[in-house]
Amino acid sequence: MGKTIIEKIIQAHTRDEARAGRIVWMNLDIRSARDFGGPNVVKHYEREYGDSPLADRTKIFFTFDLCAPACLLRYADNQQACRDFALKHGIKVYDVDQGIGTHVLMEEGLAQPNSTVVGTDSHMNILGAVGSFGQGMGDVDIAFAFRTGRTWFEVPETVNVVIKGALKKPVSAKDLTLFLVRELGTKRLALKAAEFYGDAVAGLSLAGRLTLCSMITEMAGIIGFIPEHNNAAGKEIENFAGAPFSPFAADKDASYAETIELNIQGLPPQVAVPPSPTNVRPVAELRGVRINSGFIGSCTNGRTEDVAAAARILKGRKVKAGVMLKVVPATRRVYQELLAKGILQDLFESGAIIVNPGCGGCAEGHVGLTGKGEVQISTGNRNFAGKQGKGETYLASPAVVAASCVAGQIASPEDL
């Protein structure tokens, strides 16, 4: 019997038979830890292994992206504990200036197609966008992986998702993704991998692929792959990886848990209403909801293309008085591209607040937190109660967030 993509990647990393449902011991190529989880990894490592060497230290990294640069003493301490450990063991730190860890691993060519990449970030599976098996793990797993270079893993089943219809501008990858989160909920992909087929997903740019793959976590899935790609996305991936992009394809006779067909023809912009990313409605139904703040960034929508889409709307317009718009580029490279293209200038003139690269918004210690009663519209991926503070967070595309910040209420770009 043939294999799905996830079965093929795992098979290339284990001596066991990689077949859905089996538990295998899997070799890990890249192992990483961020400023949350990283200090716990260090603590476990030192307690369990003392001064013993890491398994292939050239493939182990710290990526600081959550509290960057540290604005609370306890995070400053934690980050320094990781730096000290890194220095002692000779491993590289992508420090607080570099941006979101998963994006940095991709840009640096460390997340290679068909490789295995783990870290203390539940959105490591975003790397499915470039064909690598990224997986978030806890600090016990990662400490063990630092020492041994492997872990146990239950090979997941795969769901075959076929998407019919085309995306029509200004409807974006985020709208498509939110629609999928609504349709697939937290049950259909739960504990499974997914392969997405169809022209709409095959035509996505790299930024769009990242957007879709980042929200598999919100669907409770293990990882999503987009086996087909267009030339531009392929080129971009090759530039980062430094090698031709030839991700594994599923075998014709691979076995799937199920096939789901969805049609997106005529899809309008979408918004996820708090307190759940699955609570998705067309923007038209939410028009007029007053907002206090906007957030553009995160691993889901922090690429140059995302910020540029927002800037196209903001250029020559002003963020409504009383609304805070926070913009956080995903990485330093993105920041530099935005600078070079003059996009930061447009954003600045519209009244946006531009912050250094990083995660932002997802945890205490960075911008994008909400106070009690505050309503925020964000390009992020989660809006659970209490996650970003006591306020309420709506999730939308960069274009919808930008339009809403100009209008002072939830709005579609056409409304301006």
């Binding site: 539940s122 016990v140 797993d141 020492r147 937290t186 945890a363």
Partner: protein
């Protein structure tokens, strides 16, 4: 070697309307404001600290208690603290219809018995599992008994890797046992 059976008082995580809470995410179990903590013993007091109706859980829980929750327990982030806060409180086991994948791994790796049972929703809806009941679970056979109500039910027995890690204590101890075997 750890005991393969456990008896404890259960806490059934119900919402205000008496429904079993599903999709409890790691920010509800252990809020991101406390992620700087690296000492397991300090994590217990934050357990369920952001779950509506259960914020006082740490004060109520006793060692050996068993948690019963709805499907997709532990959704969200990869933080080990969302498991270790229960280790700190010496929770005996967690029973739910399903766990989020990273959460399940983290619990297995920390040696916290996490067990799935498709019967839970039905039992809770029929008042056959209520907070305060004494429940007996056999991790290896999957046999469970609500001693207080005389109702028996099944949970999925621990898988091989889960059992081996549990018996060793945690992933690190298990890894050392592998080294000795090799």
């Amino acid at each position: 070697m750890k005991k393969r059976t456990h008896r404890g008082r259960i806490w059934v995580l119900l919402d205000r309307n008496g429904k079993l809470i599903e999709d409890i995410d790691t920010d509800q179990i252990y809020h991101n404001a406390f992620l700087h903590i690296t000492e397991v013993s300090e994590m217990g007091k934050h357990a369920l600290g952001n779950l509506e109706g259960w914020k006082d859980f740490a004060g109520k829980a006793a060692p050996g208690d068993i948690l019963v929750a709805g499907r997709n327990f532990g959704a969200g982030s990869s933080r080990q603290q969302a498991v270790d806060c229960f280790i700190a409180l010496k929770i005996g086991a967690i029973l739910t219809p399903s766990f989020a994948s990273i959460y399940f791994r983290n619990a297995v790796n920390s040696g916290l018995p996490v067990l799935k049972s498709a019967r839970i929703e039905h039992l809770v809806a029929g008042s056959k599992l209520e907070s305060g009941d004494e429940v007996d679970v056999d991790f290896l056979s999957g046999r469970a008994l609500n001693v207080s109500k005389g109702v028996s039910f099944e949970v999925e027995p621990m898988g091989v890797v889960q059992r081996e890690i549990f018996e060793a204590g945690n992933l690190f101890a298990f890894g050392r046992s592998l080294d000795r075997r090799d």
